[in-house]
Structure formats: C-alpha cells, structure tokens
Amino acid sequence: MTGDVWQQIFSFDNYGELLVLVQNSLIAGAVLGLVGGVIGTFVMMRDLAFAVHGVAELSFAGASAALLLGVDVAAGSLVGSIVAALIIGALGVRAKDRNSVIGVLMPFGLGLGVLFLALYKGRAANKFGLLTGQIVAVDTVQTGWLVGTSAVVLLALAVIWRPLVFASLDPDVAAARGVPVGILSPVFMVLLGLTVAVSIQVVGALLVLALLVTPAAAAMRVTASPLRVTLLSVAFAVTSVVGGILLALGGSVPISPYVTTISFTLYLACRAVGGARATRRVRPAVGSA
C-alpha cells in the first residue's frame, strides 16, 4: 500500500524515453520560471500577492468557460486574466481598496469557474488541470504561445523597468520627476495578467502564487541588491518548475505539488539564511552600545 503511493509520486522507470516526450514542457517550464521570477520581484514591491491570486481565479473562470464552449482554453484564461487585472487596476488604486476589490472579485470568479466545469461533460482530467496544473505526460503544453507571451512580458518589463521601480517605491516622488505613474499601473497589471494566464497552463490557478510570489519573496530574504534579487528569484522559479517537471515525470500526480514543495523549501532555506545574517548584524551593534 505504502509502496504503491510512493510509486505514484516517484517513479523513474523508462525515464529516458519520458524525458524526450516532455521536452516541450521543460522548455515551457524554464521560460515560465524566467518570466515568473522576474515579474515576482515587482509583485512583491507593489504588494500585489493577493492580486495575483484574484487574477488567477478569474483566469480560471475564463478557461473553464472556454472549455465548456469548446473554444481555446488558453485564450479563455487569457481573457479572464486581463479582465481581472484591469478591474483590479482600475478599482483598487490604493492598497486598502484593492484588497477588498480582490476579496469581492475572487469568489465570484471561482464560482463562475465551478459553474462552467459542472456543466462541462468532457474529461475530468481537463477540469482538474485548470485548478491544480497539468499531468505532464498527458496534456501537451502549448509551448509556442507560452514562449511568445512570455517574451512580450519580458520585453515590456525591460522597457518600463526603471520608471516601474521608481513608481513602485514612491509614486509621489516618481511623479514629481516626470514618471507617468498613472499609466504604468494598468500597464503592469496587464503584464501580470498575461503572466498569470500562461502560468495557469502549467501549475494551475490555485498554485500560481508558488511561481509569482514565493521565489521573489525567498530572494528578498537574502539580499537587497535589486540585481541579485532578480537573478535569485529567476533561479528559484526555474529550479522549482523544471525540477517539479523532472520529479513528476514518472508518477501519476500533477506537477504542481512538486513545484510548490521545491519553491517552499527554497523559501524556508532563504528565511533561515536571512535570519542568521540579521542576528550576526545585530550582535556587534548590541556589544558596542
């Protein structure tokens, strides 16, 4: 019995053959880690972790509507994401308003999604996949559109990078310096919407945070250098997704638990390292006081 469970979670029979099969997924996972790790640092700076969750639920509603109507699921999730991102961006300019807007929007999106899935008569695995991620070997990830969308997001972030950092840290000072703060906010929300929509294809709506928040949060525990935070965050996110896919290969469990476990472990390690450093930093100050 116990052996069976382990066999389901970890199995490396015929690993070489499987690896070839999931080549696309691995590429998709690496790209996803890259874009998720980068945008995650802005999600943290702009305090949008909860918004990511809200966008993901609406994206789920869009995807399940598409599934029911028999149209492209990726397109459905994209529409849901963008709509949610724009609503949150427009209604929740201030952090306090934003959280209540998200709190109202999220259950509505989830409810819609549940409704559409209940009406859907197709394969159950498709339903489950939208919420908790794909089973790697079964569904092919649409690598092409995923890579394309990610490239658009990364390019746009590179263009608005400096003003976005400035506006995220201190919108008033940035505006005084001539940064178009009012435009940057919705632009960023759309980029976030795009990222959520592609992430859902792999890790599912419920677990998007593991990709867009955890790696950046972990990186910020160990360094305050903006360059190092971005590099570490990307490294953590790529390790989580690619590592998750590799571990999930043989088993019959979705990849998301592997991804979330790896990213959570990295976060715990970073907390420990950051905590140890803080203690070292405090000690001499106490001694000299």
Binding site: T41, M44, M45, D47, A158, V159, I160, W161, R162, P163, V165, F166, L169, D170, D172, V173, A174, A175, A176, R177, G178, V179, A217, A219, M220, R221, T223, A224, S225, P226, V229, T230
Partner: protein, 257 residues
C-alpha cells in the same frame, strides 16, 4: 533676483470649500519660503500645484523652467523592498528614463558624490528597510538633489524625525540653497528647526493667507487677524511659540508652529 517659480491670482477650491484665493507670489533664486498652517489648510495642495500635479481653480502657475526636486515626508519603506541606499539615490538620477538600470561609471560616480554630500556613504549598501527615518530622509534629500533642481519642494520632510535629524535634514536643504542658489519651498508644521533659514513665510488658514517676512507674518496681530480670533505669538529662548491658533495642531498637542 529672477523668479524661479510663482503663482499669479491663484486660487484653489474643492467644491465650495476655498483653500486659498488671489494668491500672487514670485520666488527668487536662493529664497527659502516656509509654508505653514493648520492641517487641511491646503499646504500639501499648494505644493502639488507647484509640482504641476494639481490644477488651480483660478489663476496661473508661473514656472521658470528647470527641474524641480521633491522631498516627501518620511514614510517607512515596504518590508523586503529590494533596494539599498545607493539604489534610492540612483532613481533620482535616471529612474524616470525607460529601460534597464545598466550601470555606467558616470552614474556610479555621481551616486557616490551624492552619498558623500548628505553623509550617507556609510550606509549606502544597507537595505532601505533597515534604515532609520533620519537616514532615509538624508537619502531622499540626495535623491531630490540628483536632478540638480532649481527649486526644491519639501513636503514636511521633518515629520516624525527626532530633533537631531530634523536639524540635520533642514541643514542639508539649506546648504544646497546657499551653495547652488536653489529656491526652497518648505511645508512644515514646525517652524523652529528652520527659523534661522527662512526668508519669507506663507501662512495658510481659514481659506485665507498671509505672505511676507517672518517679522511681518509671525506676529500676534497678523495671525489673530488671519484666524479671526486672538492668537498669541511669542519668542522664547530663540523659539517661536504660537498659542491659541484654532485647530492648528492635531498632532502631539504641540503648541509651537
């Protein structure tokens, strides 16, 4: 003394609440103007007008061109913000430009100079989240100076700082004015830390204003007239103390202006 920034016949109202009207002022190069008044009298809105972020209800904003520097009031930085002291200053240099923050030697040197100028070199690489209010405000002064501004607009930059750092930050601003002839507009609750620096005072209250030298504005007669009720202004140990200004001080019960 050519004007750097000014207002002509300016008025600001929100709905039927008039904050101030018929305000004419021209600020010369190197002039230090304190903006005083109770909360809600329109001090911050006045600054936003000068910044071009708030439309006037009437009148016009006169700008002499040249960049504006803006020093906000101290606010703590969000936890885990991935920025250090030098990054904050750098944003003042090129944070408004598109693209990635690629390092150039020129930028690094300039950041180093600004760090030295405000005495912040010692904590340049410390995360912003670990800095004290006074340390952060020094960096924000340097960030504002990075634009090489002709006018420095300061929005209560001393608020929630201890006395020592109030003095340090005020002196940094004043030093910039003396060495570069920069015009300073300084919104504050507390005039005493900048008492020796001020050339003119704009006092906003009750939908009206007084504008003139310290000796003209900060007197019992002038403020009593402005508030329409008896107000006492006294100099005690070199400090200016205002007693009886209605609704003037809703923080800390402090009776000095």
């Amino acid at each position: 003394m050519s004007a750097t920034i000014g207002l002509s016949g300016a008025g600001l109202a929100f709905g039927d609440r008039v904050l101030w009207q018929d305000l004419d002022l021209e600020l010369g190069r190197g002039e230090f103007v304190a903006v005083l008044g109770p909360n809600g009298s329109g001090k911050t809105s006045f600054l936003r007008v000068l910044l071009g972020r708030q439309q006037l209800s009437s009148g016009a904003l006169l700008t002499g061109g040249g960049p504006l520097g803006y020093i906000p009031q101290h606010r703590a930085v969000a936890p885990q913000t991935p920025l250090r002291g030098r990054d904050l200053i750098r944003l003042g240099l090129d944070g408004h430009r598109w693209g990635l923050p690629l390092g150039t030697r020129r930028i690094r040197r300039r950041v180093g100079e600004l760090l030295e100028a405000v005495g912040a070199a010692g904590y340049a690489d410390r995360p912003l989240t670990l800095l004290s209010g006074g340390e952060l405000q020094r960096l924000r002064v340097a960030q504002a100076l990075a634009a090489d501004p002709a006018v420095l607009l300061c929005d209560e930059p001393l608020l929630s700082l201890d006395l020592h750092h109030q003095k340090v930050v005020a002196e940094l601003v004043d030093e910039r004015r003396r060495t570069h002839d920069t015009t300073v507009v300084f919104v504050t609750h507390e005039i005493n830390p900048i008492l020796d620096m001020v050339d003119r005072v704009l006092y906003l209250a009750q939908g009206r204003f007084r504008f003139g030298s310290l000796a003209e504005v900060m007197t019992s007669a002038s403020l009593s007239d402005l508030y329409g009720s008896p107000v006492e202004v006294a100099r005690i140990n070199g400090r200016l103390v205002v007693v009886g200004a209605p609704g003037a001080h809703d923080h800390g019960g402090e009776t000095t202006v």
